[in-house]
């Protein structure tokens, strides 16, 4: 599988499913099985909970994550106790998650484990840095694109996206939805200088002028935009939005006469909560969006089987996606 060579260049990789049952775990197990022969030290963790043997929402069979000997993994205390393999404790985090502290351990035998990990971006970044310090060459994050979690898989350097029939039973719908996420992932990153400046910003909407000086507009959230619209354009038309970007905000911006000058900067692509229609309308009118952290999309994997029971034509789906998106698409089961 070609994208495995690409993985070699990165120290962190996330595997993200667009929907439950889009074959994320299958994909993860595939990547792990292929990396088994390389001499890299691999670590595995997750954002939130993962690796249940049955899907907790639809109760369909779900593959467990299989670790091989020597792999490092990070999971919560609670899940560590339920592990089905022999492993050696290497470290325990000081911070606690809802499932207890995080245990870093090394698998001493092949086996299955429930993964759970830090729930916010800062903690994930710290964990990735810590794993690197412990001699890990590649950290793989099993990530969900959940709007409920504060953690975003975009903190990793590279990403594989899993999509499939679970997202939509209609191929053209499925392609459209996948393309939207693809487009967001491909949003360009801002320059390093501005990035350092903005990464220290805590919250609110900040204005960025031509010389890249940043000023607080005094608007603490996009959600409060209605009452403070007048303040927004006081310093210019480039903004850094620290939190989520909503439909309402983009709708408001797109009808402004300066729309072609408006540029939004968001933390990463997961900060955009707007619907695809709104986003494309905003872009069409001339607005643009940049991200603080760009992640490199390596490949898209597809699962043509939906949990409801119907199956799409794998080859047709693959072709349709590849035709629209400039990225390799694979059906893991067919490689």
């Amino acid at each position: 599988m070609p994208f495995l060579n690409k993985i070699e260049n990165y120290s962190s990789l996330s595997i993200v499913g667009l929907e439950k049952n889009t074959g994320k775990t299958e994909c993860l197990n595939y990547v792990l099985s292929r990396l088994r022969d390389s001499h890299k030290q691999i670590a595995l963790t997750s954002i939130g909970i993962d690796g249940e043997s049955r899907d907790q929402v639809t109760h369909t069979q779900k593959p467990e994550i299989e670790l091989s000997e020597g792999m490092v993994f990070v999971t919560s205390e609670l899940h560590y106790k339920k592990r089905k393999l022999l492993s050696e404790v290497l470290d325990i985090s000081r911070q606690s998650t809802s499932l207890g502290r995080l245990v870093t351990a090394r698998a001493l035998s092949k086996g299955k484990v429930l993964l759970s990990g830090p729930a916010n971006n800062k903690a994930i970044k710290e964990l990735l840095a810590d794993l690197k310090k412990k001699g890990v060459d590649l950290s793989i994050v099993d990530g969900a694109l959940s709007r409920k979690s504060l953690g975003s898989p975009a903190v990793t350097e590279a990403m594989i996206l899993a999509t499939g029939a679970a997202l939509s039973a209609n191929i053209s719908q499925l392609v459209f939805k996948t393309q939207y996420v693809y487009d967001l992932i491909q949003l360009p990153e801002i320059n390093t200088k501005l990035k350092t400046k903005l990464s220290e910003v805590g919250s609110g909407i900040w204005s960025v002028d031509v010389e890249e000086n940043i000023t607080d507009t005094g608007i603490s959230s996009v959600l409060l935009i209605d009452k403070k619209k007048d303040k927004l354009f006081k310093y210019g038309y480039h903004f850094f939005v620290s939190g989520a970007v909503t439909d309402k905000f983009l709708d408001f911006l797109k009808i402004q006469k300066q729309i072609s000058e408006i540029q939004l900067i968001v933390r990463d692509f997961t900060s955009i909560f707007a619907s695809s229609e709104t986003y494309y309308a905003f872009v069409k009118r001339g607005g643009s969006i940049r991200v603080l952290n760009h992640t490199n999309l390596l490949a898209i994997t597809i699962n043509p089987v939906s949990p409801d029971g119907y199956t799409l034509n794998s080859e047709e789906l693959k072709q349709a996606l590849e035709h629209k998106l400039d990225i390799p698409v694979y059906d893991i089961k067919r490689i």
């Binding site: 560590y80 106790k81 050696e88 404790v89 290497l90 325990i92 000081r94 035998s109």
Partner: protein, 471 residues
């Protein structure tokens, strides 16, 4: 009294704790839960320990070793829960055993480092036996699992599991059975391990305590060096400070490029009244006295050039507005209740330090003065070590009085403003034998730049030219 209680109403203490460079959460907890010491031997022992670290910190090879120890202390985790489980004879899980192993290794490393210092300061229990049990491969690497070395039976069960897993066409059930068998053996080994290390539970607990103490001692010594604090000696009679200063106020002044004037003060076993102009630092003196007494009895060095301190059983203060609308009490009422409590305390145990700022200032001066004289007399008769600041004239002549020198200097043409008043004010204390207090309120008020009309009208009033407002 616990440190965590003392810190609540002593702002100077809060400042020092915030600036105390404790490396571990254990050290902080140890400090907050430490009791105020009232025993001379205890206090001197703790101060001697701090002093040893001060000396070590200033001699060359030791400085480096201490910084290594501090680095190790920063890695210290609070494992009291785990140790308690062990002492309660529970079977620990791998994570808890890992914690104990990491702690034991760390303790060992600190002990070795401490031995490199010229004199071993704190006795740290030897945790070598635990390490020997939990590190059967003798790698000294802080990681843990139930090693194959513990039981041959377990090792072969694990081997069997591995072989079964690798076999072609093996069912999940078979693997499960093998896994369970290995698990069972593992559980048994874990149980044995826990009973083996549980007899060292007390040692672990002791080590936790000693390392927390070590963290605190090093932090105390570093702070003493940084802020120029000195060890006070125990006095059987008077408490006396030479060059006493308030580290928080001093720090604040230094931030504004101003100088702090240290003062000397002697406290006899009786009442002492402090008078002086406004802005002359009376409240700071009281706060610093409370601070120093606490610091001394919690085993810290004190902010002064030299100090002899009499140990007390209790420190009572009434500094600042105690008004509590929620209790339905006025500031006067709550002050009076507090003072009444102090007087009762004074009757119960004589060995207290009482500090009252501007007693009865919120009522009329005639009755206020009467109250000051009355309270002072009770303290005088009962020989209570106490300090009361006041602005009232006409204090009973038998009490000892100290006066802040204030703006007595001949200043000539110098223009004094709120910004530079600090440089012209003489904050030192002198014995005062007449009952008059300085009348400088208006002068100070005008220096503060308040509305001129107030000052002028007030002056007219004082001159007896009462202007009757006919409207």
């Amino acid at each position: 009294m616990l440190f965590r209680e003392a810190i609540l109403n002593t702002s100077g203490l809060q400042f020092l704790v915030e600036n105390l460079d404790l490396k571990s959460s254990l050290g902080r907890r140890f400090l907050l839960n430490s009791k105020m010491m009232c025993d001379e031997l205890e206090i001197t022992a703790e101060l001697n320990l701090v002093n040893q670290f001060v000396l070590l910190q200033t001699t060359d090879p030791n400085t480096e070793i201490l910084s290594k120890i501090e680095h190790k202390l920063a890695q210290l985790r609070d494992i009291r829960g785990t140790v308690n489980n062990l002492l309660g004879n529970l079977v620990l899980d791998d994570i808890e055993i890992f914690e104990i192993k990491v702690f034991a290794l760390l303790t060992q490393e600190i002990e070795v480092l401490q031995k490199e210092l010229k004199n071993v300061v704190l006795e740290i229990p030897n945790l070598q036996p635990i390490i020997r049990i939990l590190d059967p491969q003798n790698t000294k690497i802080p990681s843990f699992y139930i090693y194959d070395n513990y039981s041959e039976e377990l090792a072969s069960a694990r081997k069997a599991l591995k072989i079964t897993k690798a076999k072609q066409g093996v069912t999940d059930k078979e693997v499960e059975a093998c896994f369970d068998a290995a698990q069972k053996l593992e559980d048994k080994v874990r149980e044995d391990l826990c009973s083996k290390i549980s007899c060292f539970g007390e040692d672990l607990s002791q080590a936790l305590n000693q390392l927390s103490h070590l963290d605190l001692l090093i932090a105390k010594a570093n702070q003493a060096l940084k802020l120029n604090l000195i060890p006070a000696s125990v006095s059987k009679e008077n408490t006396s400070y030479k060059g006493m200063f308030n580290p928080m106020v001093k720090n604040e002044l230094e931030n504004q490029y101003k100088k702090y004037q240290a003062i000397d003060i002697d406290l006899e076993k009786s009442v002492c009244l402090i008078t002086g102009a406004n802005m002359a630092g009376k409240t700071v003196i009281l706060k610093t006295l409370a601070l120093c007494q606490y610091l001394f009895q919690f085993g810290f060095f004190v902010p002064a050039d030299s100090a002899k301190i009499r140990i007390v059983d209790k420190i009572s203060t009434s500094i600042g507005d105690e008004q509590s609308e929620l209790n339905g009490l006025s500031s006067f009422a709550s002050e009076m209740l507090k003072v009444s409590e102090m007087v009762e305390d004074a009757h119960k145990h004589e060995n207290v330090l009482i500090l009252i700022d501007e007693l009865a200032r919120t009522t009329n001066p005639v009755e206020g003065l009467a109250i000051v004289n009355a309270v002072a007399e009770i303290f005088y008769q009962n020989k209570i070590r106490s300090v009361i600041t006041t602005h009232y004239s006409g204090l009973n002549s038998c009490f000892r009085k100290l006066r802040v020198v204030g703006l007595d200097k001949e200043l000539g043409e110098t223009l004094i403003t709120r910004k530079n008043i600090n440089s012209y004010m003489d904050y030192s204390l002198v014995e005062d034998y007449n009952g008059e207090v300085p009348h400088e309120a208006l002068r100070i008020a005008s220096l503060l730049g308040i509305n001129k009309e107030i000052v002028e009208k007030a002056k007219t009033q004082l001159n007896g030219k009462l202007v009757i407002n006919k409207c």
